[in-house]
Amino acid sequence: MRNAIEIKGLRKEYRDFSLNDITFSLPTGHIMGFVGQNGAGKTTTIRLILNMTARNNGSIRILGMDNIAQEQQIKQDIGAVFDDIFFVENWKVSEVEKAIKSFYTNWNSALYYQYITDFSVPINKKVKELSRGMKMKLMLAGAMSHNAKLLILDEPTSGIDPVARNELLEILSTYVSDGEKSIFFSTHITTDLEKIADYIAVIDKGDLFYTGTRDDLLTRFYLIKGGLNELTGELRERIIGLSTYRTEFQGLVPVAEKTIRRLSGNIIMETPTIDDILVHISKLKTHE
């Protein structure tokens, strides 16, 4: 099975931030959520994938092709959506189609207008007159109307209402249903991942913490909770990203550490959410 995205040893250095040795793959026909807090390196990674910025090291293959050597070919087969519109604000929705269709050999005008109709985007309105959710849908219509085999979305659901967000997630789920198309989307809204992502990559301060299936991630850790009086020295050492509150503590422990229960009888161990994992691994980095 060919991978839609293959990244190995990706490195990018800025003055005050660096992306370090990022390696992950997205199998064709699946959805990968790329999650991390603000400033973790999600958008930088996406910009590197799209060759909008030069990398310092590593390799990126998109749909089996090198993302620099075969950039134009790749971009015929990918679509992207960012969290802000990138069309001229005075263009009407119909003019957006006219502006971009000639760049794509596989552009399908009927499909574009089908999406516009399905998404209820008003054709004669100017881009600047659209709501945030409508702008997202417009960008998505543009991204999906040339039979793109890979969609790359950078925080597509941030700032839109829950109803529009749910609609967007349904659209994305339908898009990959034929098994030929893939979606890579970055987000810090982890509930979106829990709804549609098959694979997850977790990035924290430029380092890749985890890559693999969503289910595997959630079964890799326990969320451990207990009263402060339960927090022994040995327990403290084993917990990842310890958080202490007025009367209780919380943290993560690897599933392999299930013997930890012996250290304190009244602690609770439960399956974490992706949010829990993000919160606690970020604390781990802060304390290192």
Binding site: N51, T53, E71, Q72, D84, F86, D154
Partner: protein, 198 residues
């Protein structure tokens, strides 16, 4: 349209219809920076980064578009010049018309050749004031030189009077060469530039 109106008014008041060509083309050259302003305001660098198009093609397209605008403005300014000449009953010699036409077109191309590499290399909002500085320095230096060395200026004028084909050669061919060199520089600068995302 305002610039055209001002140009016509200036040509009439100065009783020098060819002045219209100079003003129209100069204004047009300065206003071409708006392409970059619109592009920056609307995050078009993101769109360019997503489309299957090379950065060099974007640069070439913008220069071609600008050149076409320049040619259209030359045509418009020429028509207005003749119209105003006729209306205010002023006769232009061939030499005067040629000098103003080619000189205006050369200035248009010179301005674009200086500004565009700066705009392609850096954000418009950060360099729009600086991009006009080389042009202003050029004019100040040129004016000072003419005042300091009037004999040199007169000799140059005489040369062109006796070799009118050189007005066309420098005014058109030279201008296009300048644009070509500028385009190569713009391509090199734009290629190195990271495309922004919103």
């Amino acid at each position: 349209m305002t610039a055209v109106g001002i140009a016509v008014l200036a040509g009439v008041i100065a009783s020098n219809p060819p002045l219209i060509m100079g003003i129209v083309l100069m204004t047009s050259a300065f206003s071409m920076g708006n392409l970059f302003a619109v592009s920056e305001k609307n995050n078009l660098s993101t769109l360019y980064g997503l489309l299957p198009v090379r950065k060099q093609q974007i640069v070439i397209a913008r220069y071609i578009f600008t050149l076409l605008v320049g040619i259209l403005n030359v045509a418009l300014a020429t028509i207005l010049t003749f119209a105003v000449s006729f209306l205010i009953n002023i006769t232009m010699s061939n030499l005067t018309f040629t000098a103003w036409l080619c000189g205006s077109f050369f200035l248009f191309c010179l301005l674009i050749s200086i500004q565009f590499p700066i705009y392609f290399g850096y954000d418009f909002s950060k360099v729009s004031a600086i991009a006009n500085m080389p042009v202003i320095i050029f004019f100040i230096t040129g004016s000072a030189l003419i005042r300091k060395c009037p004999e040199l200026f007169n000799r140059t004028i005489n040369y062109f009077i006796h070799n009118q084909y050189m007005i066309w050669l420098i005014g058109v061919v030279g201008a296009l060469l300048l644009l070509g060199i500028s385009m190569i520089l713009s391509s090199a600068l734009y290629k190195k530039r990271e495309l922004k995302t919103p």
